[in-house]
Assembly symmetry: C2
Homo-oligomer: 265 residues x 2
């Protein structure tokens, strides 16, 4: 028994392509339909009410495309909207916060750092998710608003990015965290600069990798695995030239073909 | 004869508050109603089609508030949507591109630089506006995508901003421009860093200042000047805490009170 319906992936923009890449690597037999709400990105600087409204509309749009499960590949939307999305959808919903928190809680000896957008950090979602698993763990959180624009500028290994990483992440060194959650889908692109800033002693948790394991579990438990056909559709709500350029940066081995869709905005 | 109706000001976010500040300085007797479309900012990374759609909706919303003229205090929207807005509105519409280009063309000895968002630069609007006035002027344009996030981080006089400014603006020094148009409403906040990067020899054109003169002209010509009452309403489509914080950074002397509105999004 296989289920040929696609796995739906939703992100505020194209940072979630790092999650898609991890899913394709671990589950190459699935069909994927990715929706990036590029007309209204970023979510990370907006209020929870606005993020919930946008996320619901995107999820309903993907439901209309017959998906068998929804991956919310956006930390901000996962942090703000996951319960609402689970309530609204009839298929399983997986966010990026819980898998990342699980990886972090499993390996730490007691001090975990979290970085993300202002909205993700303000939500406290990672803090709660880590404490739900291990209440004794000390958690230090910090927003890093310049990391997304630096990643999108393509300055992944650039002196300016190294300096910004040093300034943002210095407090974590003083706090002696042993684990750092990359709580934004763009941050794996800056992994080298982040690793250099915090030092080798600190384990980096990439929620894109963590979520792939969770998706595999959900597909297995629900007898939802695909018929090994593969396939990908990339939908966006705005197709500015820079979106294509950044998508190529993130998916260098994929023939990126963005389809423009309208969410009745 | 005075006209008590408010002057409407529209921006994608709160960068346009630099234009509002210039207007209040030059025309303190007017009432102002400012609309920042913070739920969908930034416009500068999005396609012209999307920007036109958003700008039209914002303009219609302000028209519903009985404005006597519309100031499009957003370079991206001015560059992409001004003709459409002029067509749709029954009151005078002033953008930021034409006044900035006029200031630049008036003072240059032949080489003008333009910096702005990717969308503003890609539109070629400043280039056309300068050439419409002085076709012989050589124009060099460059997008500076990190300037808005750096301004919003409050790093106006920060070593990282100085380094980014040096990297972005170095080509203008080689090109020997004598005038540089700050083609984005956030950029006046980084004026010090920009001036340092290009050197004292280069005149900086701040379109916020340029647009104030144009608005005064339109009010005088149409017998639309206000009854010296003053007054300000600040409307936003998303009221995240950071929006209030940045508004305070830009308007340190104003009691910032943001009203949340819904554009039926």
């Amino acid at each position: 028994m296989t289920d040929p319906r696609p796995v739906g992936i939703f992100d505020s923009g194209i940072g979630g392509l790092t999650v898609l890449a991890a899913l394709q690597r671990h589950l190459p037999g699935e069909r994927y339909i990715y929706l990036g709400d590029t007309a209204r990105l970023p979510y990370g600087t907006k209020s929870a009410e606005t993020v919930v409204r946008y996320a619901l509309r995107a999820a309903e749009f993907l439901a209309g495309h017959g998906i068998k499960m929804l991956v919310v590949a956006c930390n901000t939307a996962s942090a703000a909207a996951l319960p609402v999305l689970e309530e609204a959808m009839t298929v399983p919903v997986v966010g990026v916060v819980a898998p990342g928190a699980r990886f972090a809680a499993a390996g730490t000896s007691g001090k975990v750092g979290i970085i993300g957008t202002e909205s993700t950090i303000a939500s406290g979602a990672y803090l709660r998710a880590v404490h739900a698993l291990r209440p004794e763990v000390e958690v230090v959180a910090r927003a890093c608003p310049l990391f997304v624009p630096l990643a999108e500028e393509g300055w992944w290994d650039h002196p300016v990015t190294h300096e910004v990483a040093r300034l943002y992440l210095e407090p974590f060194i003083g706090d002696r965290v042993d684990t750092l959650i990359l709580g934004c889908t763009h941050y794996p692109l800056l992994r080298g600069a982040i690793a250099r800033a915090v030092g080798e002693r600190v384990r980096l948790v990439d929620s894109a990798e963590a979520v792939a394991g969770e998706v595999a579990d959900v597909l297995a438990r629900g007898a939802l695995a695909g018929p090994a056909a593969g396939g990908l559709r990339l939908l966006v709500t705005d197709a500015a030239a820079r979106i294509t350029r950044i998508a190529h940066l993130i998916l260098p081995d994929v023939a990126v073909n963005l389809e423009l869709v309208d969410l009745a905005d």
